[in-house]
């Protein structure tokens, strides 16, 4: 199966082509995508780009929906929860 390489919070990982960024995060063992405004860990909920819980920073662009964006070669993903 074709693979793509992405970097999650500074750690490289190889995932199946076509995987969502949310999938890459889960495979990398990152369980939280963001911290809520009162500091609680949050993770993807709706899976369809409606709830905005899965938002992360992709290639420097904040507030991207990790459940809706497919992994691309060399993509840099940073989660709010890691900051």
């Amino acid at each position: 199966m074709a693979k793509v390489n992405v970097v999650i919070n500074g750690r490289p990982i190889s995932v199946a082509a076509g995987s969502s960024v949310a999938a890459a995060l889960a495979l990398a063992g990152v369980t939280a995508t963001r911290r809520s405004i009162t500091g609680a860990a949050r993770a993807p909920v709706c899976g369809i780009g409606v709830c905005y819980e899965c938002r992360v920073t992709i290639n420097g662009q904040a507030h991207r929906l990790s459940c809706q964006v497919a992994c691309a070669e060399g993509m840099q993903v940073v989660t709010d929860a890691a900051l």
Binding site: V15, A16, G18, S19, S20, A22, A23, A24, A26, L27, T31, A32, S36, I37, T38, A40, A41, R42, A43, P44, V45, C46, G47, I48, G49, V50, C51, Y52, E53, R55, H63, C67, A70
Partner: protein, 426 residues
Amino acid sequence: MQRFEIVVVGAGPAGIAAAVSAAESGAQVCVLDAGAAPGGQIWRGGAERHSRTAARWATRLRQGQQISVQQNTQVVAPLAAGELLVERPDGPQSIGYDRLILATGARELLLPFPGWTLPGVTGVGGLQALIKGGVPIKGRRVVVAGSGPLLLAVAAGLRRSGAEVRLIAEQSDWARLLAFGAQLPLDPARLLQALRLRATLGRTAYRAGCWVEQAHGAEQLEAVTLRHGAQRWREPCEQLACGFGLVPNSELAATLGCAINAGAVVVDYAQQTSVSGILAAGEVAGIAGVEAALAEGAIAGYIAAGRPAQAQPLLARRAAARRFARRLEHTFALRAELRQLASAQTIVCRCEDVHYAALAEHPSWRSAKIHTRCGMGPCQGRICGAATSVLFGWTPESIRPPVAPVALATLITTSSAHSINLEEHV
């Protein structure tokens, strides 16, 4: 600006049927869809791979000579009359139309209970969608809870993906389910579907009159408390999929001025909304399933293309699908206990972390929104708005464009030439 006779928003079953029917009647059609491929949520990941029916419709859409399908395209706001602002990966664009068909589908109804914000708690369709995106589930212990036929379909999919489904907890009771089941033999196709699910699910525990009261864990879900009659127990699991049916995505219709009733866009026998030249089809016009969506979409497509006679034979199919949907709605009506699950400190608005107690003192959605910021985060009330409708009977109002979070550059490029008032709307 690109201009088309008919613009369809959404490429789920209703949108595909609408576009195909209109184009085959000779109209120039454009389909705007936020997804990467046609299919919507139900035919996710490309309609062609989903089922024979889905594949047939997808083929007709692809082969349509007069259909422009624009994927990864999010409708942001109405501009002047007959014009929409859309955001695409290559930037903003305005799309003009003579007639508009809204097929924006539905999302899951998620209800708050203590612990529902923990990582590991998702919707039912939500978990299915995440797994299709590649989220690993093999070997994980999952509780599937909430209400409706989706619970069974998703649980079967989870088993096939290697998850350990600990329990399916359906909040509706056996009396209602059996009354519903007794009518199924009248419908061989649906009975066959039910039998196939039964075979896949094997000995997976299914409890009716059962629901999740609480999710436990520090930074990640570790267990749920389940309730079944007088019985209450703790079930260890890493994943909880919990959803209570669907709610229409009627936000764009609302910003266009279409009348909304009980969350759904109001349509007449010809799928026309209260606004002249704007039609609606599928779940956005009332939750009724894929059969109804296909019939409604085709009817809307023919009507918009000026071929009402073509729509005539579809009316009976639409009526039958809607009758079935009403039975489903009755069967899976939500029990009163679900409105009492949230404690004072349970977060209801997940974007702004607004607790139940802070909301309960307000008389309306508007009041709560002004005083607590409930519904003012990035989801724009799509999750908490539906939840507070159930909890407090509120009607989300004052829906204003943009209907989705959007790059400022999109608004800046277009606001100079158009009537979006940034001060009022952002």
